[in-house]
């Protein structure tokens, strides 16, 4: 249900009086296979099954870690640099990693 003007006003007052913290800015999460080469990213979520997530994590791909997409050609696997190492990830597997672009 859409918020009425009264509720919106109430939220604004609570925010202005610092009765509740401001909502965190929305960050756009993208799938790793959509990221162009040369981009720096931060891993935000692993959505594979337990086995796949386990393999990602073993190679240092844990939530919160920074990485750089080095290669991403057509339908081939991706090459990323993370934690000082190079990791090749199949395109379909890369769809299970949600990332945030970092500056």
């Amino acid at each position: 249900m859409e918020e009425g003007w009264l509720q919106r006003f109430g939220s604004w007052v609570r925010l202005a009086l610092r009765l509740e913290p401001p909502a965190a800015p929305r960050v756009e999460l993208r799938r790793l296979d959509e990221i162009p080469p040369g981009s720096r990213i931060v891993l935000r979520a692993l959505q594979g099954d337990a086995e796949m997530n386990g393999r990602f994590m073993q190679l240092g791909l844990v939530v919160g870690s920074a990485a750089e997409v080095l290669l991403c050609h057509a339908d081939g696997p991706l090459l990323i640099r993370s934690r000082g190492g190079l990791v090749a990830i199949g395109r379909l597997e890369a769809r299970n990693i949600l990332v945030e672009m970092s500056s």
């Binding site: 997530n53 073993q58 939530v63 199949g90």
Partner: protein
């Protein structure tokens, strides 16, 4: 501990893949190493004994693993060895250029009570990558010895062993800074409190609790068998409430790793474009990379055949042939079957297979070189997009490459694939890679059957093999292995200078394993086929094998074979080249050479069908034995053999009908 019991100090060498662990193992043990398999497993076990400072040291090279959660056979073996065999000390080898990832294994190892010494290998690579590592600072932060070494230059290894011996002699003083994982602390404590009651020694309840929260399937099964129903019910409840504990526990270990690295590692040039990146921009390019790959493979085959082929011929004609006639002479007064057995069965069967050793040596030397530099891993990356279409991924291409030399190492090489499905599928289709022995038969018979068109026919036959391989892969992937996808996630090592010693040992250990197989399985099959081809009357024409050939003649007819071609195909089961030897015995008459006799008696259609069947048929006894060994299953072995049999016979029958129809 074993040091106290027998005086021998047991050191386990642990580390993630590609950290130079094997180089260190080879440096310490030289040729005094025993290579086998872990009991009941198809993972290589390397062990060696050497002396240092008056102490006898048993060094066990554990499989390369990223962690100690039982996600793969290798990880299960590594941790079972540390937990059950309790080595006196573990040397953990880390790549100094990638400590932020390598120390993760250390975080896992530190959860176990065994003393640890850290070996910081590849310090030079780290320096070249703009990474400064301070070993003392790291040792202080970790509370354990951290020794810088360069395995490739044999530097620092003595200090490393001294540090390990010192740790082994006073295990009570081992007090490292263990990772404290704050996340999931309550759940960890609750489970370990329950597990305390029934966790058997040498397992530790805290460690068991952590592995249960990490969804370690093996530990889950074990704990279920240890716990009573009530306790297990409680644990299941906790696990259900903490389904995502795995992510937090692993994240917690990495946070600890980051803290440790921060104290001892400084990146001098964080944005430096490294040599590895420069090379990868070229060799991993989808088009340029493929051109490079074709050149590398072409060069590999050209070098192998240029160097090894003359050696094979020299061994066959310079050593084997004289040895066979010498054996016949020496055993002249012995019973005829004995002289025949030594000359034809032993030397003609096993001996002929042995002449292919130079081919394997050269092939392994080149592959050892490519692997040691880091290029071979790139091949998996490059070929992944094509391999995915047949239900495999890039890693399967590596054993396929080995298959062009000999199918046996290709089957064994499938061990690089972690998923059981991917490994099995690779093993099932690998025998369709034309091996050097099949190339030899092709090179010998194609000119006889096809005259000036021999080269084109040979190319066509090799292409058919590869197309059939792709089709069979696709078929199996859509039927038996339907719905199971092989995930492609792999580390690409940094490029580095190859180590001659490592390449030499790689070459030697693989060839030795082939020779051992030759002395057992191939010998047994060669003897059986020889006996079938000799008895009851001492000549192949009237032997049981010939009788079998005649019995199978109606089947042979479907493919355009007479009984002799059928028998030649049967004997090729020992080794492919036997087909030529058998044809020589069966067709040579009236002073005609084998070539003349064959071109007069065998039609082009039959010749084409024979070569096609030879190329697609079960490669040889050694390959079948390797399939049985690697799959640990007679059912899969039988499936593989039947599959190849059906494919080869169907292709033979179709090609024979088509060629006969075209020839009018």
């Amino acid at each position: 501990m074993s040091a106290n019991n027998s005086g021998v100090v047991t050191i386990a060498l642990a580390g993630q893949p590609n950290v130079g662990k094997s180089t260190i193992f080879n440096l310490m043990t030289g040729l005094k190493q025993h290579v086998g398999n872990w009991p009941g497993k198809t993972v290589e076990r390397k062990e060696g004994v050497f002396r240092k400072s008056g102490r006898e040291i048993r060094l066990v090279d554990l499989p390369g693993t990223y962690g100690l959660t039982a996600r793969s056979e290798e990880e299960r073996i590594a941790r079972d060895f540390i937990v059950n065999d309790q080595p006196d000390v573990v040397i953990m080898v880390a790549n100094a250029a990638a400590l932020d990832r390598n120390l993760y294994l250390l975080a896992e190892l530190l959860a176990l009570p065994t003393p640890i010494v850290l070996a910081l290998n590849m310090m030079d690579v780290a320096a070249a990558e703009g990474i400064e590592v301070r070993p003392e600072a790291l040792a202080n932060a970790l509370g354990l010895p951290a020794t810088p070494i360069s395995a490739i230059r044999s530097e620092g290894v003595d200090d490393l062993i001294d540090a390990a011996l010192s740790q082994a002699s006073r295990p009570g003083l081992f007090r490292p800074v263990r990772p404290e994982i704050a996340e999931q602390r309550q759940a960890l404590d609750a489970i370990s409190k329950i597990a305390e009651k029934w966790t058997p020694r040498p397992f530790q309840p805290q460690w068991v609790a952590s592995k249960l929260l990490e969804s370690d399937q093996e530990l889950l099964a074990r704990a279920r068998s240890w716990a009573n129903e009530q306790d297990w019910g409680k644990i299941e409840k906790i696990l259900a409430q903490h389904a995502d504990a795995n992510l937090e526990i692993v994240g917690g270990r990495y946070a600890w790793v980051d803290r440790m690295v921060k104290t001892a590692v400084r990146r001098i040039a964080p944005d430096k474009i490294t040599l590895t990146e420069r090379i990868d921009r070229v060799v991993l390019h989808p088009l340029v990379g493929l051109v490079v790959l074709f050149c590398v493979l072409g060069l590999t085959f050209a070098l192998t055949f240029a160097i090894a082929w003359p050696l094979q011929r020299a061994l066959e004609f310079g050593v084997l042939t004289p040895a066979r006639s010498w054996a016949s002479d020496v055993l002249g007064s012995a019973p005829p079957w004995l002289s025949h057995f030594v000359s034809d069965g032993l030397l003609g069967g096993v001996g002929l297979v042995m002449t292919f050793v130079p081919l394997l040596l050269v092939f392994y030397a080149i592959f050892g070189f490519l692997e040691d530099t880091g290029y071979l891993a790139r091949v998996a990356y490059l070929t992944d997009r094509f391999m995915q279409r047949i239900g495999l991924h890039g890693k399967s291409f590596l054993p396929f490459c080995l298959g062009f030399g000999c199918n046996v190492p290709a089957i064994i090489g499938a061990r690089v694939i972690e998923s059981p499905k991917g490994r099995l599928l690779t093993i099932l289709v690998a025998p369709l890679i034309p091996c050097s022995a099949r190339f030899a038969v092709l090179a010998f018979l194609a000119p006889i059957f096809f005259g000036p068109y021999a080269l084109w026919a040979s190319w066509g036959l090799v292409t058919v093999n590869l197309i059939v391989l792709a089709l069979v892969g696709m078929l199996l992937n859509r039927t038996i292995f339907k719905g199971e996808r092989v995930a492609f996630i792999m580390e690409l090592p940094l490029y580095h200078a190859p180590n001659i010693r490592s390449i030499g040992l790689f070459m030697w250990s693989h060839t030795w394993s082939f020779l051992r197989r030759a002395s057992t399985m191939i010998l047994a099959v060669a003897t059986s086929v020889w006996a079938l081809g000799y008895f009851p009357n001492g000549a192949v024409e009237g032997s049981y094998l010939a009788q079998l050939g005649r019995l199978l003649e109606p089947v042979g007819h479907l493919m355009g074979f007479d009984w002799r071609l059928t028998v030649a195909l049967l004997t090729s089961f020992v080794a492919k080249e036997n087909a030529i030897a058998t044809l020589g015995v069966l067709y040579q008459a009236n002073g005609l050479s084998l070539g003349e006799a064959l071109s007069q008696t065998v039609s082009v259609a039959s010749g084409l069908s024979f070569l096609l069947v030879t190329m697609l048929f079960i490669p040889c006894a050694a390959t079948v034995s390797a399939i049985r060994h690697e799959t640990q299953s007679w059912a899969w072995t039988l499936l593989s053999v039947s599959l190849l049999l059906v494919i080869a016979m169907t292709a033979g029958a179709v090609s024979y009908r088509l060629a006969s129809w075209v020839a009018g």
